[in-house]
C-alpha cells in the first residue's frame, strides 16, 4: 500500500512538473509566434511603403518627362510607321 502511494506521489510530482514545463514552453512559443506576427506586420507595412515608392517613381508624368527629355523618345510620325499584316495575336503588334 505504501509503495503504491509512493509511486502515485512520484507520478503526481512528474505530472505537475510536466505541466509547468509545458506551460512555460507554450508561453515561450507564443512569444516567438508574437514576434513572427509582428515581423509579418512590419513587412506588410514595408511592402505598402515600397508599393507607394514604386508607384511614385513610376508616375506617368515622371516617366514621360524622362522619356522625352532624358532619352529623347517620341511617337514616330505616320510616315515612319510600317504596318505588318495581322499574323500576330489580336491587338499585339
Amino acid at each position: 500500500m505504501l509503495r503504491l502511494n509512493l509511486i502515485l506521489l512520484a507520478v503526481l510530482a512528474a505530472c505537475a512538473l510536466a505541466l509547468v514545463t509545458s506551460q512555460h514552453q507554450a508561453r515561450k512559443l507564443y512569444v516567438e509566434l508574437q514576434k513572427e506576427q509582428d515581423l509579418a506586420k512590419a513587412l506588410e507595412v514595408e511592402w505598402g511603403q515600397l508599393q507607394l515608392e514604386a508607384s511614385t517613381w513610376a508616375t506617368h508624368a515622371r516617366v514621360e518627362k524622362l522619356a522625352t527629355r532624358a532619352l529623347g523618345m517620341r511617337v514616330p510620325p505616320a510616315s515612319r510607321i510600317r504596318r505588318v499584316p495581322a499574323a500576330a495575336p489580336e491587338g499585339r503588334p
Partner: protein
Amino acid sequence: MSPAVHPHLALQLPAWRSRLLLLALLAWFAALALRAVYLQGLHNDFLQQKGESRYARVIDLSATRGAIVDRNNEPLAISTPVESVAASPADIEITPDQLRRLARLLGTDAADLRKKLADTRREFVYLKRQLPPDEAARVVALGVPGVFLQREHRRYYPAGEVTAHLIGLTDVDGRGREALELAFDGELAGRAGSRRVIKDRLGQIVEDVESIRAPQNGRTLALSIDARIQYLAYRELKSAVAAHRARAGSIVVLDVATGEVLAMANVPSFNPNNRERFDPLRARNRAVTDLFEPGSTLKPFTAAVALESGIVRPESVIQTAPGQLAIGNRVIHDAHPQGALTVAQVIQKSSNVGAAKIALELKPEVMWNLFHQIGFGAPPYSGFPGEVPGRLRAASSWRPIEQATMSYGHGISVSLLQLARAYLAFATDGELRPVTLLRREVPASATRVISVETAQAVRRMLELAVQPGGTAPRAQVTGYRVAGKTGTAHKPEGRGYAATKFVSSFVGFAPASAPRLVVAVMIDEPSAGQYYGGAVAAPVFSTVMAEALRALGVPPDAPLDNVTLPPPGAPEIREEV
C-alpha cells in the same frame, strides 16, 4: 499539593479566565474563516479583477483601410502607418532648450508649443500628426519624458491630382470625405478589433486569452479606371484648358463593350496629398455633378428619333436656306448658312435649322421617350456620390420653340457622363449599358434603345462630321476611323443666353468599324479666341483617342495616311450650339 511548591504556582486562578481566552481565540479564528469565505467565495469578483489587471491587458487591433487600385491593380490610394507625436502635459518634464529643439523638429513655433503644454491637467495632446517614421524617430531621440508617439495610418495618393476628383480623399482620422473614398467608406474602412492577452513582467505577450473581436481589414477596391488612359486624358485636358484659357474642363472615356469608365478627369484639379490646402470648390467632379446644355452633340439623337419613327431617311433632303427659321417670335440661326442638305449633312455640318425642322415633324412624346430611354433626366447610377439627373422637362409642357431648340441641345441639361453614356447607343449598334466605376468581370446586361439600322446610319453620319466638310476634321486619328459630333453651346445666363460665353464639347468613338472607346470632352468658357467645339475640344479627343487605342493595342482599321485636313485657308465649317 506538596508544601515545597513555589508560592506563585500555588496561586489559584479562576477557571473562566482560560475559557474566555479560548473563546476569544476561537472567535478570532471563526472571524478569519468567515472573512476567508467572504473573500474567496462571495465577494471575489473585485479581487479577481484587481489581480487580473496586474497581468491581463486588452489590446486594440487596428484595421488597415483598404487600398484603391485601377483595373490593372496599380495603386491609386494606399494607407501606410505614420507616427503622430503626442504629449501628456501632466507628466511632461522639459527644459527650455529641449522645448526649442522639439519645436524645431516639429516645425512649429516654440511659443505655440509651450501653450499646448501649459494645461497640466490634460493627459493627452497631439503635438504634430502624421510624421514620416524617420522624423518621428528623431523626436523620440530627444528623450523628453511625457512625449510619446502614437501610430496612425495616413492615406497616400500616388497619382495625385490626376485622379483627385475620382478618388477623393479621407480626413485626418481616416474617414472618407469625398468622392469614391466617401461612397465606399464602409467597405474600405474595415473594422477594428481587440483581444485579451497576458503580459509578463517585461511587457511581452505570453498568452492569448481570448479574441474579443477579430479585426477586419478594409477591402481593396478595384476600379474600372485605367491609370494610363486616365493620365493621358488629364494631361491633354489640362493643356487644352490652359491653351484656351478656359474656366474648367472635363473628360470621360468609356469602354464600349462593358460600359466601364476607363478615365474621368477634370480641370482645375487639386493635390489630395496636401490636405491643408484643400478647397471644396476645386474638388467637384464636374463630369458627374455639373450640368451643362450640351448643344449640337445632341443632334444625332434628334436624327435617331426621326429615323426610328420613319419620317426621314439619311438621304432625305431638308431645306435649310436662308439659314434662319422663325418659330413664334423667336428666330433660329445657323452660324454658317447652307442650302438644301440631306439629314446626314445636317449632322455633318451641324445645321440648327435642319435639326429644328426635323424635330418639328416629330411628336414631343416620341422625342421625349428616346431622350428618356437614352438616360437624360435620370442619374446614371455609376455609384459616384452626388450624381445629378439633369433636366428633361415633361413632353406635355413643350412648346414648338422648345422642341426645336431641344433638337440641338438647348433647354435640356445633362452631365458629361450622361452624354458619354448616351453615345454608347450609337457605338454598340443601339444598345445601352449601365456605366460603372468599378472593375467588372462580366459586362452588365444591355437594353436596346434604338434599332441596329438606325445606330449604324447615325454612325455613318458621325463619321462624315469628322471628315473635311464636317465640323471636326481635327478629331481624326491616324490609322483609325473615327465618328463623333461637336458642340458649341451658348451658356445660359440670367433668363437668356450669354452672347460670348460658350461650352465647347466633342463626343465621339473609335474605331468606327467596331467601336471600342467613347471619349467625351467638355471645355467650359474657352476665352483665347477660339471657341468652336471642332477647334477646342476635338483636338483633345483626337490625341486621347489615338494614345488610348495604342495603349490598349486596338488593331487599326484605316490606312496610316487617312487623316485629311482641309487645305490651309479653307473656310472652317462653323457651328454655334
